[in-house]
């Protein structure tokens, strides 16, 4: 009985760990005028956190240069600044920096 309980607890723990793994934040670093990684694949319900390592203002703007889609616009004011967005819906989210439009990134959200 004891071993059965322990096994059940272990299973529950693994499931919880699995859920937590899905819910963990995904980090994107902004450095040398690049989003690193440029492409990230996540599960719906994941929050992506951008951290600016450049000593200059960048933005994280959904869409393409000249065609922002309005889904999110984040401002990273300077070195050390962070901003995040919770992705709840599956899809492909392209984004760029409004100030330096060669900076592009993409988040792929799966169910």
């Amino acid at each position: 009985m004891k071993s059965w309980t322990l096994r059940a607890l272990a299973c529950a723990g693994m499931m919880t760990a699995g859920v937590n793994a899905w819910a963990e934040d995904t980090a994107v670093t902004v450095r040398l005028f690049q989003f690193q990684p440029e492409e990230a694949s996540i599960r719906a319900g994941t929050r992506v956190v951008w951290t600016n390592q450049d000593d200059i203002k960048h933005t994280v703007t959904a869409g393409l240069p000249g065609q922002p889609d309005g889904r999110f616009t984040l401002v990273l004011t300077g070195k050390g600044a962070t901003a995040s967005h919770l992705f709840t819906e599956p899809g492909v989210y392209r984004y760029f920096c409004e100030r330096h439009q060669n900076m592009r990134g993409e988040i792929r959200v799966a169910r």
């Binding site: 040398l32 005028f33 690049q34 690193q36 450049d54 000593d55 200059i56 100030r99 330096h100 900076m103």
Partner: protein, 225 residues
């Protein structure tokens, strides 16, 4: 000796002369009592010296080609402008490759559009001056000044030995000296234009030297010997 071999020998000789010329030019500027910082490494033939002379060569070439392009544009010499602009872009690519050789392909790819941006702003300024469009010229100057902060931030991110403010200030001086060249060209004063051009080119070691020194300091093993 075959024709191909002769050509190869000439190419090598030209490259060698070019490299030596860059070194002589750098020494000449230093000895000429300009505001250039005193060289920290004067031994030729080391990797550090090669880096330093290479950056000096590229950045001074940038100024001369930019001035050739703006001069041709202001005089309405279209074919010459296109040729100069194409050569200027080749120089931009070479500078970005130099950055990439130290910081990697990603940095190279990020640097090139950033560098090209300031050339675009200089073109805007030239067009503004040529068409007496003060609003356009003023915006281009404002964009160029703003750009210096971007450039400073890029190099500061790449190398902690390069403070953003210092780099921005040095690049700001580059912008101002090149603007003086364009203004003199626009006023059809060749004497002033060439004086301004020498000043603008003479400033570039102020950027190339600290950049080279900071890179060597950051990667001493890579540039040892």
């Amino acid at each position: 000796m075959t024709r191909a071999m002769t050509t190869a020998v000439v190419v090598v000789a030209v490259m060698t002369a070019s490299a030596l010329g860059a070194g002589c030019s750098q020494t000449g500027t230093s000895m000429g009592g300009s505001a250039m910082a005193a060289p920290a490494m004067t031994t030729s033939g080391t990797k550090a010296a090669g880096l330093r002379s290479g950056l000096n060569n590229l950045l001074q070439e940038h100024v001369y080609l930019a001035a050739a392009a703006t001069g041709a544009a202001l005089d309405g010499r279209d074919a010459e402008f296109k040729a100069a602009a194409a050569a200027l872009d080749q120089n931009s690519i070479a500078i970005s490759k130099a950055i990439g050789s130290v910081y990697g392909m990603d940095a190279e790819l990020a640097f090139l559009p950033l560098w090209r941006r300031h050339i675009g702003f200089a073109v805007d300024y030239t067009v503004g001056v040529a068409t007496s469009d003060k609003t356009r010229a003023d915006k281009a100057v404002s964009d160029l000044i703003g750009y210096t902060e971007d450039f400073g931030a890029f190099l500061a991110s790449a190398n902690p030995n390069l403070p953003k403010g210092v780099v921005a200030s040095l690049v700001k001086h580059h912008v101002v000296t090149l603007k003086n060249v364009i203004d003199a060209q626009a006023s059809k004063d060749p004497t002033r234009a060439y004086m301004a051009l020498r000043t603008a080119a003479g400033h570039m070691p102020m950027i190339a030297d600290p950049l080279a020194e900071a890179i060597v300091k950051q990667f001493p093993d890579k540039f040892a010997g």
